[in-house]
Symmetry: C2
Subunit: 128 residues, 2 copies
DNA sequence: ACGTATCATTACGTTAACGTCAATTTGTCT
DNA sequence: AGACAAATTGACGTTAACGTAATGATACGT
């Protein structure tokens, strides 16, 4: 079975981040590694969160925005108080992401067009 | 017909940016407004570039990366020297964007799932 | 001619997201 | 026990992308 907790070094290797980054995320309350004496041990939950954090970053969300979204993913049945507030936030993010998708499709299309133009240009030059 | 050039104020209004941003982009050689005395006049070309700049930003590209991509969009027949180099860059960006699209679809799916869970939870609480 | 608004330049300030370095502490091997 | 590697905690440094404030030139309406 998959090891229950990971030390900082393995965590860094697994996600291609630096120790500094993990400590920084803990300071910002994005991760909550447990302690074995002084050392950090990252749980399965931390790994799930980190995956979402890195994904969020690739989409251009700030760490603070990501922190709020993580609440939605890791909400347990007890703390449903702020659920509706979080849902509203999630809806905005979803709208953002879907708009981003439309734009992305457009941009990919345009870029492909330009690349075809450039490729043809190159070919016509090489056939001099 | 569409006005050939725009002053900084209109440009800001049209694209929802600050004057500082436009001057900054000029300093970074992303835009090349002409001068009327001291004042900047933004051309159609500047408007096209700014549109691409803002789009690039939404996709998480740095201004420097965007600057290099702009070369591809605004290359004229004369300066084809670095074309193939630029094409390589464009290919990397295209791959990036398509990977981003796949991930985005995934993320949208997951987020929707979480939102449905949360919405159902809320409903079951309100029907107490 | 004069006040006002708009633009310009210069320069220093700010925020996010870490990097880097020094000084300790702790576990491990011999 | 001594040495070494690995982790921790400050604390200060860095970069990108502008913000902001001060100062000065231009144009415009009256």
């Amino acid at each position: 079975m998959t090891t229950e907790t990971m030390n900082i070094r393995d965590m860094c290797a697994a996600f291609d981040v630096t120790p500094r980054t993990l400590r920084f995320y803990e300071a910002k309350e994005l991760l909550f590694p447990v302690r074995e004496g002084q050392r950090r041990l990252f749980t399965k939950r931390d790994r799930a969160r980190l995956k979402l954090i890195l994904r969020g970053k690739r989409f251009g969300f700030s760490l603070e925005e990501i922190r709020q979204l993580l609440d939605l993913y890791h909400m347990d049945d007890s703390q449903l108080t702020q659920l509706s507030k979080t849902l509203t936030l999630a809806e905005r993010h979803l709208a953002d992401m879907e708009a981003q998708k439309v734009e992305l499709d457009e941009a990919i299309g345009e870029l492909k067009g330009q690349m075809k133009w450039a490729t043809d240009k190159l070919a016509s030059l090489e056939a001099r």
